[in-house]
């Protein structure tokens, strides 16, 4: 198991929390909650070790288009980057309602 923690500067308070996904093989769940302070925090737990650089790249890209002050928890069981991006987008959509 690997835990990766990332943070990104953020200001915009998000309307609500949201949960998306299932920790199935090749999939992940995302929990997104409003955060306090000045940065969005991401905590990733994954059963596939050694891909920290890939995770950083995916999250960097995600945050280049997302400005929410959020606390994001990802529980991953080997999802491909495309699936991760999809779930993040779904979580954001759900949290903006």
């Amino acid at each position: 198991m690997e835990t990766i923690e990332l943070s990104y500067p953020a200001k915009r308070k998000i309307p609500s929390r949201a949960h998306i996904g299932v920790v199935g093989s090749g999939d992940l769940e995302v929990l997104i909650e409003p955060a306090e302070g000045k940065s969005a925090q991401v905590r990733i737990r994954t059963s596939v070790e050694g891909f920290e650089a890939t995770w950083r790249a995916v999250l960097d890209r995600f945050f280049s288009g997302y400005d929410g002050l959020a606390s994001i928890q990802i529980n991953d069981a080997g999802a491909a980057p495309g699936v991760v991006s999809l779930r993040l987008a779904q979580a954001v959509e759900a949290s903006e309602q």
Binding site: M1, R17, H19, V22, V23, G24, D27, E29, L31, E33, R45, T46, S47, Q73, N75, D76, A77
Partner: protein, 291 residues
């Protein structure tokens, strides 16, 4: 069969099987009444998985929704088949048992509260071994206690089916609802093939699998109360109808004389085509048996 009416019905169908556990539980409850308990944000996870390199799920693969069904108080617990095969760990087992305990307490206080258990599960989560097995035993007790006061409805729609120790929970249920895709049995085909060889059970033979474990066969043996299409509204209606029937006058697991006779009548010297049992087993259960 291809009249416009049939085609329109088919198009209007919404697959239940394609929904995840949370979605399934929510569609069964009257709109505007659902309240999830111990949801993912409560983060009560398995304490045992991370140490084994398995990523825990925030709800441990079990969803609990309290609400109303057909206007009556009910709790729905749904196992997520996509997480560890819907297997029972310490937490997922405890969630189901605690929910049924609370439903029974409400019944005692004069608020009849039914339970609906969505079973997509292979049984015990081996990574939690004895705590998973013990959790199933405790859940079985909770079913025995609640079913005297309010219906316990077990629903298996597929694709995982209901196997292992959790099949005993289905055996104790007041009502069982299945789709044709759903399967119900104590031991899955792979396990039997492992233990007693491919002659005993060829796990690659799909038609054999459904011929023995499939919803249609189980219904033909009188073991299922409603066999429904994979359609959200039909399944929700079957669950509602079960709850409205109330506590049955007898439970299948108490019909010992009936089933003992059926077992004694079996010619165990050969394998049978499962369909052979359909005629002899589909008579009405005797009601003289007292519990």
């Amino acid at each position: 069969m291809n009249t416009p009416a049939h085609a329109a019905d088919f198009l209007r169908r919404q697959s239940f099987i394609e929904l995840n556990a949370r979605e399934r539980a929510n569609v069964l409850v009257d709109a505007g009444t659902a309240r999830e308990l111990l949801g993912p944000f409560d983060r009560i996870e398995s304490p045992w998985l991370a140490a084994q390199g398995i990523t825990p799920q925030a709800d441990d693969g079990c969803v609990v929704i309290k609400g109303k069904i057909a206007g009556q108080a009910a709790v729905v617990t749904a196992l997520e088949g996509a997480f560890q095969g819907g297997s029972i760990g310490e937490v997922s087992g405890a969630k189901m048992t605690a929910a049924l305990d609370l439903a029974a307490q409400d019944c005692e206080r004069g608020v009849p509260t039914s339970a609906v258990i969505l079973l997509e599960t292979g049984g015990v989560r081996l990574q939690e071994g004895n705590l998973g097995l013990a959790a199933i035993a405790e859940l079985m007790n909770a079913v025995l206690v609640l079913r005297r006061r309010a219906p316990v409805v077990c629903l298996t729609a597929g694709t995982v089916g209901c196997f292992g120790g959790m099949a005993l929970v289905a055996g104790l249920a007041s009502y069982v609802v299945m789709t044709r895709e759903g399967r119900l049995g104590m031991n899955g085909p792979e396990v039997i093939q492992e233990e007693n060889g491919v002659e005993e059970f060829d796990a690659s033979d799909r038609s054999l699998i459904w011929a023995i474990h499939g919803g249609e066969q189980r219904q033909a043996l009188g073991l299922v109360d409603a066999l429904v299409e994979d359609d959200v509204s039909q399944i929700a209606e079957a669950v509602r109808a079960s709850i409205l029937k109330g506590v049955p006058s007898t439970h299948r697991s108490s019909e010992i004389d009936l089933y003992r006779r059926r077992i004694q009548a079996l010619d165990a010297s050969r394998q049978w085509d499962p369909r052979e049992l359909r005629t002899s087993w589909n008579d009405q259960p005797h009601t003289e048996e007292k519990q």
